[in-house]
Amino acid sequence: MSILKIDNLTKRFGGLTAVDHVSLEVNEGEILGLIGPNGSGKTTIFNLINSYYPVSSGTITFNGHDITHMPTNRIAKLGIGRTFQVVKPLKRLSVIENIMVGAFAREKTFSGARKVATEVLEFCHLDGVAKMKAGSLPIAGRKRLEIAKALATRPLLLLLDETAAGLNPTELVQAISIIKNIRTELGITIVIVEHIMRVIMTISDRIHAIAQGATIAEGTPAEVSVDPATIAAYLGSDFKAENRPDA
């Protein structure tokens, strides 16, 4: 069953078409990887899904609701959580307070929000820095805090925008395991944008590849990684696999 359905989604910024008739479906419980070269429109698609930008044409349906023109906060309330590529911590609040802000989306009371936040803290391995001001967290912590804030709103669908970028190898392993746990332990559907191929190829069930705003390939990681259009988009059309120096 599809939880998110995007139909002919288009976004124009003046003369530039950033997203060009993209259609995709996300099934309940899966991890969908969204890949594409820099500037291909991945983050723009996220920004259209949660109404951060107004949609030029096309429709977005989430869990039976038409959310195409819904305000951002209502989309979040319906159950789409997202992280930002350029992280947005609430800097002068502590880590746990940041997460509590998210938790208040479903909790009315201070103690209820605190309880949810404590669980999420542990889940994202942030319990050691709970009292720290979010503004003084190092980058790995901030990336995990992005996930934690979104998780605290108890989403059905989580949009992860480059949550592994800028991490060292150890932090990367931890980030991957958190993302996997989100699906297996919490049962949350995930759409993930990521540049690090090692991450996206290992955790995605399906990959949707775009270039210059348009879909170029879709399928399992194995299929997409040998797709000529994907290779052309990433490496140039005159690139031939057999010409690789190490082949």
Partner: protein, 326 residues
């Protein structure tokens, strides 16, 4: 810290001290008058702090709410001889209604533009209430014989309102509402993505803030027995002084406005009275200059205000033992 009926032990001690304060200095009405002024500024400071300090919407036009509260008490008296004491009910309400309509305009603006929008709102009201003589009696103002000669009833009334505003802010900041206000201050876009209707919660912050400012305005009318648009809608003496109370005391701290009010009223009086009459006359002209200098010093060295940077102050003055303070 153990809590007794919403307040901590230390706060009950301060409240007790405040309740006894008018009896010291030999029951001096002059001293009592100063204390009343301090408490009125505590209310205004708290009101501003909730909107600007906690929700991040820096208002330069709090005189608009203060003034409308004062006139809500004064206008029915002027036309129908209805007691200004009703202003304690209508003053806050009038300010909330004004806030609702002003909010529709100024919340379209962000950052410095929001500040300018609020500043303009206050100024427009000042001119409007000066010109519309049929309603407001214009620059002649509205005069009313105050009910009590003693200052004591007014003192306890404003003490009650000030404590009310303090407790309200304290309770709000420990609730969902408070967390939402803070998240709007920190990052509106992040707040929206977390399911927070930022426009709605900014309006709630404005409503609570304007309510207390309007209440302070109504109190002013009852206590002073006189309103004039140039006084209650004053840019310098109300709007800017409100901001100074917040900044000096500590933006976004519970006790900041109270401490700020104490300091500002003291300094203002110190200079206006030429060091309580012992200094030369020209000293009385200096208070604006001193306020300016004080703001420069605060922003350079104590950006968090006296309460926000209390730890820094303690270190500077040689106390070795620095603990967390609440």
């Amino acid at each position: 810290m153990k809590k007794y009926l919403l307040l901590e032990k230390r706060e009950w001690i301060i409240l007790g001290g405040a309740a006894l304060a008018p009896w010291i200095f030999g029951f001096s009405p002059y001293f009592q008058g100063l204390l009343i002024l301090v408490l009125m500024w505590v209310v205004l400071g708290n009101s501003w702090n909730l909107l600007a300090g906690y929700t991040g919407q820096v208002s330069f036009g709090h005189a608009a709410f203060f003034g409308i509260g004062a006139y809500a008490a004064a206008i029915p008296y002027h036309h129908f001889k209805i007691s200004p004491w009703w202003g304690l009910l209508t003053g806050g309400l009038a300010a909330v209604i004004l806030g609702y309509f002003l909010g529709k305009l100024v919340f379209r603006l962000r950052g410095p533009y929001f500040a300018l929008g609020t500043l303009a709102s206050g100024e427009i009201l000042r001119l409007l209430f000066g010109e519309e003589e049929w309603l407001t009696n214009g620059h002649n103002g509205i005069l009313y014989m105050t009910t009590f000669i003693s200052k004591i009833p007014y003192y306890y009334l404003i003490l009650f309102i000030a404590m009310g505003s303090l407790v309200a802010v304290k309770v709000i900041m420990k609730s969902k509402l408070g967390f939402y206000f803070l998240s709007i201050r920190e990052d509106q876009e992040a707040a929206e993505a977390l399911g927070i209707d930022t426009t709605k919660y900014k309006n709630i912050a404005l409503a609570i803030s304007s309510f207390f400012a309007g209440l302070a305005g109504a109190f002013y009318m009852i206590y002073m027995g006189f309103v004039d648009p140039e006084v209650v809608f004053a840019l310098h003496n109300i709007s800017i002084l409100t901001i100074l109370v917040g900044i000096i005391g500590g933006v976004g701290t519970i006790w900041g406005p109270a401490v700020g009010a104490l300091i500002m009223v003291f300094i203002q009086e110190l200079f206006r009275s030429s060091f309580f009459g012992v200094g030369p006359q020209w000293v009385s002209q200096l208070h604006s200059l001193v306020f300016g200098a004080l703001v420069v010093v605060m922003i350079l060295y104590l950006a968090g205000g006296v309460v926000g940077d209390w730890d820094i102050i303690r270190k500077k003055f040689g106390k070795k033992r620095v603990e967390g303070q609440g």
